[in-house]
């Protein structure tokens, strides 16, 4: 089976809440946010013991295709799928499924974002193995992240009837996908024990996902058929560009998963985090006794400062005197300072900059 198992890494995100390090030119997944390797390199390294680079596909916007090649130099160039523009995760995944189907109609594809953190890589690979086995039975499979707090920023997956155990892991039918809940609903989900976070990690046969798309998103499927027919011809780029003008903008969750028939979930507890903002990132890195963490090539000087995350750029000195619970991100052209508990609102900062036409800083 594993010879037909492919990884599809979605590297099209923008990561605005990690501004000012994450920019349109260098989004989150291309940054060394958590260590010496970039998020993309970490994502590749995590799956490579299970799936060799020859069967790793990266879907990315055209403008960042070269960045992928630079960061993963051994990735075969034909494994970089460049989208003409962002259309949401459903077209992105559809494109990968279509091209994989051309290469290997028996392909099982494991899809994951390029910008998440998973501390238990071995557990992650074990879960992918189990999920791939479930997918052989034409299920659309998702990993369900066991929640440890009532997060209101994630979608949730409610489990249904048990499908038994596969490779020692429990598997359930999916009862329901839900959108981001309010606080009370999230707490009820957590208390019930029946809900998991939707981490955007999916495993399925390409034939299964394409079949569901034909049924649930026929306008997308029609375009994917055009792309498949033209792929191995001189018209590839032209047809893809034209198709991407017409495909509906939608997510895989809303467009497919919430309405699909055979959906299963493999619950996991693998140290997953979407590194959603600077506050969550600051909890993922090593903190000193005072709860501070400093990153970057510059020089920080902390005096009587606690619970503060600081990024410094080359040649810059950053002095924090008497600070508590702040995020300080000092890049060569832009500086962000905010309390950790406001880090979610950095998205509003980016919107404000766009509204003011400050494109150089986006």
């Amino acid at each position: 089976m594993t010879d037909h198992l492919y990884a599809v890494i979605m590297a099209g995100g923008v990561g605005t809440r990690l501004w000012p390090r994450s920019r349109m030119a260098t989004p989150k997944q291309f940054l060394d946010l958590l260590g010496p390797r970039t998020m993309l390199q970490e994502t590749v390294a995590r799956i490579e013991p299970l799936i060799p680079l020859a069967r790793v596909i990266v879907v990315v916007s055209q403008e960042h295709a070269q960045a992928v090649q630079n960061q993963v130099p051994d990735l075969p160039p034909e494994n970089i799928l460049a989208e003409p523009g962002p259309r949401g995760t459903a077209p992105c995944i559809g494109l990968a499924a279509a091209i994989l189907h051309l290469r290997d109609p028996a392909a099982v594809m494991a899809v994951f974002p390029a910008d998440h953190c998973i501390s238990d890589a071995a557990g992650f690979r074990e879960a992918i193995r189990a999920a791939a086995q479930v997918a052989e039975d034409d299920y659309l499979v998702t990993l369900g992240i066991t929640p440890d707090h009532p997060h209101t920023g994630y979608g949730y997956i409610q489990r249904g009837a048990s499908l038994g155990q596969v490779r020692g892991l429990p598997v359930f039918q999916v009862q329901r996908f839900t959108e981001k809940p309010d606080r009370a609903t999230a707490q009820a989900f957590l208390d019930s024990g029946d809900y998991y976070w939707n981490g955007g990690i999916f495993i399925w046969r390409v034939t299964a996902i394409l079949g569901e798309m034909a049924h649930l998103l026929p306008s997308l499927y029609t375009e994917l058929e055009q792309v498949m027919q033209a792929w191995d011809s001189p018209r590839r780029a032209e047809v893809l560009a034209a198709a991407w003008e017409r495909v509906p903008r939608t997510t895989i969750d809303y467009g497919v998963m919430e309405r699909a028939r055979r959906v299963a979930v493999v619950p996991v507890d693998i140290g997953w985090d979407d590194v959603g903002n600077w506050a969550t990132l600051s909890r993922l890195v090593e903190n000193d006794a005072a709860g501070n963490a400093v990153h970057g090539p510059g020089r920080p000087l902390l005096m009587d400062t606690t619970g503060t995350y600081i990024y410094t750029s080359a040649g810059r000195l950053v002095v924090a005197l008497g600070l508590e619970g702040l995020v300080v991100i000092d890049t060569p052209d832009a500086l962000l300072i905010c309390p950790k508990d406001r880090a979610q609102e950095v998205r509003d900062v980016v919107e404000q900059l766009a509204a003011e036409g400050l494109h150089d800083y986006l």
Copy 2:
């Protein structure tokens, strides 16, 4: 009388509490901290309606003599007195008195620091006129700043018997100069109504101050005599350098004023501030309705931020999200962030940088 009235501006300060804008290469007095003009330029402009540039002397360290000439291009070059090294205010003032005595033995000199803010310039000049008249009677005269809170960072002047009114201003003998008091003492000083802040502004005949130095600081006076004898000879620089190796390091307050005989104070209420640190500076500039002030050529973006002072450098974007009562000083190579109520401790930051050998940032 006014033809013999000279201004002596002391421009040798370092202003470490205004780091990272104030640096060894460009100390506080050479910066545009409060408006389009530098502190030195403001100081010159404040006195010029009373004393023309021909009678304005600036005492400065040798390394900053050119900066004075650049910032005050119409100042006669011979009016810039370059000290071979910092020795405290007593030698600095002694040098100016000695050179003025050579030029005009009838000179009355008004001494003030180059880095203070005085919002009522007309009131300041009126007080200098009155003080100069008192000084004609061989008093060492100081302006006493009427205190409005129990500041523990200043020296205080206790008034004694009244000397009547001069040009409509009350004048008192000085009972006592005191060092920086503790909080309770400062409060008692304030409550008594008999105490003024020592703002470092002095007016006296050059013969009077040189006479007191001969009496109270004979080792300094001996060196000043050597300098006077050599001043109009080719040996000027050599003798000054040698003298400055030997002069005692001391302040005019400790070395002379606390022990002198005929000392008078002219109380003033002229909007004086020594712009001692970023918090005091932030109170001297215009604040918006939320208590924020932004300076500098860069671009600030404040979102839900109150009571915060921000300086930005050219080409830099500084985003403050959800901040309260902070100081953010963003210079091209160094960034300082601290609460306003810790601004006094920036001096410790500079000491720490020196201790760590980070001379590029000093």
